[in-house]
Point group: C2
Chain length 315, copies 2
């Protein structure tokens, strides 16, 4: 399977997976704004245990019209930029173009399906600890595998073909039957760790788990999310919580992406990671008092920051 | 009743009530460190609706030995300085000296009783919105009344005598039967407003109530605290929550004292306002998931800040 691939969004996720595919010989085209000059000059460098390489000549452009139709579009912009991609994507489409969102949280597939049709849609859930340490260098701290699933239907032939292509590019990959179940499983991690990392004063995963009270709140929040998933009809076992805590302990200290956004003064992915899960949980009658307060606090912090110097100052 | 009064702690609360007593002709002696020179030179000024006065000659000292024995000691230091007062207070004591803590939260009376005997102890719960706007100027935004109670016993003759003295000094004052019940009633306000004001990004009471999600979380936290008080044997009606919300809406926008401390880089009164109530709630079997997470987050923020530049940076 030889696919023409577009990567929309040149953050850590987009650069990493795009570079992996390109490094393995894939026909990959990056859409980017800020880093265009650096990447044309220096390429994209990936660092991490067992993988240190540079894609010296990355095809990159600041226009999807220049890139033209592709077979697979990897969507790796923050969910806070979803409105922008509505206009960016059409030039990349031919009749059979597949759209695979690599974004966090809930609601992205529904959004993309409304604009581009649900048949095109797949998702790749990225279980990976990455930081972009400069505009063209991405460092992987841990993990790296992707769980691929179709939107609102079981895996198809194309799903397994993409997984195969990823595997041939040294990306660990598996195919899941139920996308929404996998999204909730990932939220069991993102909701506490991404949220508490900011609210607790700027802590990485190791610092959160080293604080007895925060560790206990992490576990309690995980249980709430599991309860919500179950109420929403996506069965996740209770053991998911202690398992994820244990795996997080085994990995290197990591700053969740939302904390990285917070420190960089960027908008936070409030709605995808906390807002939409909260709405679904409450609609299903789940009791989620801790998710509710974490969402309210993050949402307020995000608004206070966006109001900027003219608004309320962050003290 | 003519009492020799010492005020230990020259923050907003100590300066305000001490100045009110002195302005009415009381024999008041202030213990203070930082503001000594300004107050000796300029006196203490109180501003607020219906009261604008300066105590030109305030008796103040940086040594309780200089002040000597008093009949009533008002304790107005932050609870985070409780360890300091163990050594400061003995020179102020004669056999019948009364200690009245004006501090927030739970656990202060028990602490003072251990060191100075429970018979001396009373508390004054300050329902007031004050900010110290310079070292010797205090502004009252709203309210002002004190609820006075004995520690671990019903009101005595002295309790009513103190209330009378306060009343003659134009301090609204009432006497309560059950100190701990009143402490919980005050915590119904302090736990959400003082906590969320910091965690939500630096908001005053009006901004908290204007944000639909925060308002809902405030109410939910209030209900948790009421539930905890009831489990601990202090009956507070459910209606306390909406009543306090309504009264807060009617008052001017106010920065809770813990937010003022936070913005000034001072230690936060975590244990008195959140820690001890949480321990008592959990010991009584109350379900307080939101109090637990708010406590964990504030405690972490306080620690991160205290670690200072050598510790983890606040971003």
């Amino acid at each position: 399977m030889s696919l023409r691939v577009a990567v929309v969004g040149a953050g850590a996720i987009g650069l990493y997976y795009g570079a992996k595919l390109a490094h393995a010989g894939g026909d990959v085209h990056f859409l980017m704004r800020g880093a265009l000059d650096e990447i044309r000059r220096d390429g994209i460098t990936v660092r991490g245990e067992g993988e240190n390489f540079t894609v010296a000549k990355a095809n990159c452009s600041n226009s999807t019209a220049d890139i033209g139709p592709c077979d697979l579009v990897l969507i790796a912009v923050k969910t806070t930029s979803n409105n922008d991609i509505v206009e960016l994507i059409p030039p990349l489409l031919h009749e059979g173009t597949m759209l695979m969102t690599l974004q966090n949280g809930l609601g992205n597939e529904e959004f993309l399906a409304r604009h581009f049709g649900k048949e095109r849609l797949l998702a790749g859930l990225c279980f990976i600890c990455l930081n972009r340490i400069s505009r063209n260098v991405v460092e992987r701290f841990d993990y790296g595998h992707i769980v691929i699933a179709e939107y609102a239907r079981p895996p198809q032939a194309r799903t397994r073909e993409i997984a195969e292509m990823f595997g041939q590019s040294a990306i660990k990959c598996s195919v899941a039957e139920d996308l929404t179940l996998e999204r909730w499983r990932k939220l069991v991690w993102n909701i506490p760790f991404n949220g508490l990392s900011i609210l607790a004063g700027g802590l990485d995963t190791a610092a959160i788990l080293a604080d007895e009270n925060l560790r206990s709140s992490t576990l309690a929040l995980m249980r709430e999310v599991i309860g919500a998933a179950n109420k929403c009809g996506h069965p996740l076992p209770e053991t998911t919580a202690p398992e994820q805590i244990r795996r997080t302990e085994e990995m290197n200290a990591y700053k969740p992406s939302t904390l990285v956004d917070f420190e960089a003064g960027k908008p936070l992915e409030i709605d995808a990671i906390w807002g939409e899960p909260l709405r679904r949980a409450m609609a299903a009658g789940a009791k989620v008092p801790q998710l509710k307060i974490v969402h309210a606090l993050l949402n307020s912090i995000d608004q206070v920051r966006r109001a900027g110097p003219a608004g309320r100052p962050l003290s």
